[in-house]
């Protein structure tokens, strides 16, 4: 399994993937036209034909033996540059009176576009059949190696938006109590329009004044900054990298946006550059891989698990298969990370 930039030839497989993602994964609608445009944009981004701040790097995880796509993920270089990027920010407002001997702070939701210009890791999907052999970890963390390698193409901060809480029958208590009063439509419709990038209705319809959270029913308040059960492992993985919830939530479902300074992200701080030494196929392969390696080119970026870590003097021994998978030979540079 290896991660690489998406290519034009991936269109059929990507559409198959899109069909599998289902509701709630709005960035991959099942529309061939949309997906083809997305691929074209991504290819242009990896080839440097798009200004840095407009690039959407879209990766796929491929089974290099079968040629099948196992999953995908993306990095947006700078969000909010072309269309506005909205969050609510949970802030505290003091409500105090010396005369009444009263002092409280009230949690208040402020409409915000603070994250304009930050990078975003997004669109991670792994086919159920491939949810094994640490493929999910590879898919998620490969992005940090890419960002470490091309640090100058990214801004100071990175964020990730997490799916909020839904009831078993797909109802978002946060949406029901807040969004539904301002957006005369179903959650699903609002979500889909957003996924398709048709977001101007948000600015047109959403409340401009702050929302005092005590006015929301308890069920909705309990959604603020909370993730969907299925999203919890992904959140934990990001938290381990140092991403934190700083009070920003999704305006529709109240799910948290976690963030970090890119230079603080653990995987980026701890990754290191080493030199390849291809050693035939005699090297031992562990049961469970503990090291990840990524190449140093942008349009031919590759990332996969490898069987071992580097030596103290910065040399990484690869099997022929591993080297082929990554497209490297002895003497090439690799970025590696223990995880």
């Amino acid at each position: 399994m290896r991660l690489r930039p998406i290519g034009h030839h991936d269109i059929d497989e990507l559409q198959a993937l899109a069909q599998e993602t289902g509701v709630g994964f709005t960035s991959l609608p099942n529309s061939r036209e949309f997906l083809a445009a997305k691929i074209a944009n991504a290819v242009a981004a990896f080839e440097g034909r798009v200004p840095e701040q407009e690039r959407l790097y879209f990766f796929v995880l491929e089974d290099e033996q079968s040629g099948e796509l196992a999953g995908c993920c993306a990095i947006e270089a700078e969000v909010g540059r072309e269309t506005p990027f909205y969050h609510y920010r949970v802030g505290k407002l003091a409500h105090s009176s010396v005369q009444l001997d009263l002092h409280r702070t009230i949690d208040t939701l402020f409409l915000s576009s603070d994250h304009t210009g930050d990078a975003e890791v997004a669109s991670l999907f792994l086919r159920p059949a491939y949810r094994r052999d640490r493929n999910g970890t590879l898919l998620s963390k490969a992005r940090w190696l890419f960002m470490a390698e091309f640090r100058e193409c990214f801004p100071a901060k990175v964020l990730a938006e997490m799916r909020g809480v839904f009831s078993p029958d797909g109802v978002s208590p946060f949406w029901e109590s807040l969004g539904s009063h301002f957006f005369p439509m179903e959650f699903k419709q609002a979500d889909q329009l957003t996924g398709l990038g048709q977001k101007s209705f948000i600015g047109e319809l959403m409340p401009k004044y702050p929302i005092y959270t005590p006015f929301l029913p308890q069920a909705a308040r309990e959604c603020i900054g909370q993730v969907h059960e299925h999203t919890r492992p992904a959140l934990e993985m990001l938290k381990k990298e140092g991403l934190r919830w700083e009070g920003y939530i999704d305006i529709f479902d109240g799910g948290p946006t976690v963030e970090a300074y890119i230079d603080d992200v653990r995987a980026i701080r701890h990754s290191s550059c080493v030199t390849v030494e291809v050693s035939g196929d005699s090297l031992a392969q562990p049961e469970r891989p503990g090291w990840m390696a990524a190449t140093t080119g942008m349009s031919d970026f590759r990332c996969s698990w490898i069987g071992r870590g580097p030596s103290e003097d910065g040399v990484i021994a690869l099997t022929t298969v591993e080297a082929e998978r990554l497209g490297v030979t002895s003497g090439d540079a690799l970025r590696v990370l223990e995880s």
């Binding site: 409280r104 009230i106 109590s177 047109e204 319809l205 959403m206 004044y209 006015f215």
Partner: protein, 359 residues
């Protein structure tokens, strides 16, 4: 129903304190601006006397407190006040009802959202307030006299009051006596229930409390249905009073009380029936038995600190003198030949509509 022949509205005096305290305690519902709190009421009376004693050229921090006296019983049976400027010292806070239009070109739709915005705009008006009447007199012309004698006072001393007058009516309370509006709004910012906060506001100050309330507009869809239904709705006990004030010429405004969302009505002075229909007449004293029958009217003397207003028949001589009995003249403290201000007690039919002019 009691006879109203010997009823008199006059400025409150310190000797009225006990009676006013009793009235404050008996008002339904309890009034923020009339706390059953002896020290505060004593201060009110003293302030009223100071206001009457001062030379005033334009409205300021004055408060005028009146009582309704039943001379037959020798009892104080009602009280009412005027604040010359609702927000002379602190701001007078109200919620103003507004409508926002959220239009989406993308989706080709138009969505209206109601809000309540904290407002200080009513701070400049003169406020008729703090009215409490002994329950035995409810529904009689005594209630009318107590409410509207204040307009007879304002008519004579226009320099002391604002061009616009306002009246804030107690808001809707549920059967348990709770305020659905407070429970849905203020309660989030205070631990106290409606009654406690009302008592606290009476003793401290409503504007202290308002400062703690949310400063940004509230979106109505986020309030409970009960709270929304209470907006601009008067307490049932004050429905007749509201109807009368609407008949007088007051109109509902976009403003409501910040605690219970009770309606605030207002009018420019020159649109009020009493102020447009009052007139001066010299007094002619005749024996009570010989007075002709006529429509009832409010009659007020011309003395500031010794203001008196009572109800009499609007019986005029052919030359326009007002016929009063010896007893009525004595009640008003006027002798024959002195001019009194007279206005009919009857009002035209009520028109209850939101003031379009406020757009």
């Amino acid at each position: 129903m009691r006879s109203v022949g010997h009823l008199l509205v006059r400025p409150a005096q310190s000797g009225d304190l006990a009676a006013i305290e009793r009235l404050a305690g008996g008002s339904t519902p309890r009034l923020t601006n009339l706390p059953a709190h002896r020290d505060r009421l004593e201060e009110r009376i003293a302030r009223s006397n100071r206001s009457l004693a001062h030379n005033v050229d334009f409205p300021g921090d004055e408060l005028y407190t009146f009582v309704l006296e039943d001379r037959d019983l020798g009892e104080i049976v009602g009280t009412a006040s005027i604040r010359a400027q609702a927000g002379a010292q602190d701001a007078y806070y109200t919620y103003r009802q507004e409508t926002l239009i959220h239009a989406s070109q993308q989706l080709n739709l138009r969505h209206e959202v109601q809000t309540l915005s904290l407002s200080h705009e009513m701070s400049e008006v003169s406020l008729l307030c703090a009215l409490s009447l002994d329950s035995r007199y409810r529904g009689t012309s005594a209630a009318t006299l107590l409410r509207r004698a204040r307009l007879m006072f304002i008519a004579q001393y226009p320099e002391r009051f604002a061009e616009t007058l306002g009246v804030a009516f107690p808001g809707y309370l549920d059967e348990a006596g709770g305020s659905p509006f407070w429970d849905s709004v203020g309660r989030h910012f205070f631990e106290q229930g409606y009654h406690e906060i009302n008592l606290l506001a009476g003793v401290r100050s409503k504007s202290f409390i308002a400062e703690v309330m949310p400063q940004f507009p509230l979106y109505l869809p986020l309030l409970t249905p009960q709270a929304r239904a209470a907006i601009g709705r008067e307490h049932p006990a004050h429905e007749p009073a509201l109807q009368e004030m609407l008949a007088e010429g007051f109109v509902r405004s976009r403003h409501v009380d910040i605690f219970d969302a009770g309606p605030v009505v207002r009018a420019e002075r020159q649109r009020l029936h009493t102020l447009t229909h009052c007139g001066w007449h010299p007094v002619r004293i005749r024996p009570a038995a010989s007075l002709p029958d006529a429509e009832p009217a409010m009659v007020a003397n011309q003395q500031l600190a010794d203001f008196r207003c009572t109800v009499a028949r609007y019986a005029l001589t052919p030359t326009g003198q007002l016929l009063l009995s010896e007893e009525q003249a004595a009640l008003l403290g006027v002798e024959e030949g002195r001019a009194v201000l007279v206005a009919p007690l009857a009002l035209p039919n009520v028109e209850d509509a939101l003031d379009e002019g406020e757009l």
